[in-house]
């Protein structure tokens, strides 16, 4: 059974600081996703990481994937208040012969990030 674990689960930080959220998963997968969720809202796709060593950056967020270590990181640089949200990583289960776009996602518990002025 695929398990996805994030840490930390709660993170309170000051504006301007850097921090990293970690996502570990238990079985082989080549696809990892990061989503953002604001309170009472749905999930917004941030990054899709499709291969070992993949690195993607958008503004102050950078995500990377190490499939051998079964680890992804989401790094926040010089945090600003607008980045306060809950961040989820998810890994897919795409079975042999299955069509891309059909995979179901297994999510981590989420990291609730609060950035204080």
């Amino acid at each position: 059974e695929l398990k996805v674990e994030q840490n930390p689960l709660f993170l309170s930080m000051q504006e301007g600081k850097n921090y990293t959220i970690y996502c570990n998963y238990s079985t082989t997968s080549d696809r990892l996703y990061w989503y953002r969720q604001d309170p009472g809202k749905s999930l917004e796709s941030l990054f899709v990481l499709l291969s070992n060593g993949a690195v993607k950056q958008e503004g102050r967020l950078m995500a990377s994937l190490d499939t051998k270590a079964r680890l992804s990181t989401l790094h926040i640089t010089a945090a600003v208040h607008d980045l306060s949200a809950t961040y989820f990583c998810a890994v897919d289960i795409l079975r042999a012969g299955q069509i891309q776009g059909a995979q179901k996602l297994v999510f981590g518990q989420g990291t609730r990030l609060t950035i204080n002025p």
Binding site: V4, R31, Y33, Y35, K41, S42, L43, E44, S45, V48, L50, F88, A90, D92, I99, Q100, G101, A102, Q103, K104, L105, V106, F107, G108, Q109, G110
Partner: protein, 113 residues
Amino acid sequence: GAGVSQSPRYKVAKRGQDVALRCDPISGHVSLFWYQQALGQGPEFLTYFQNEAQLDKSGLPSDRFFAERPEGSVSTLKIQRTQQEDSAVYLCASSTWGTDTQYFGPGTRLTVL
């Protein structure tokens, strides 16, 4: 263009009532997923449709849960004889073949009293 929409956004049901939750995916999206998100948790997979075919229902927690997508577009998740443990946000997502991103709707928050 329009994203995934869900209705109602909020639903309060008395224990034992039946409820129906609707999802309108992005036009042209072949794949449709339902997830259940309990308070403070990540979403958990319920079921998956490819067009009108329900190809995976392994996540449905009991036979009280039933989903359909008869014409390959709009989907309905039905919960019969609701129980308090069914209280959660139900998220719908859609995607198109050849892509990896699932686009999520705003969810329906179900509260069972």
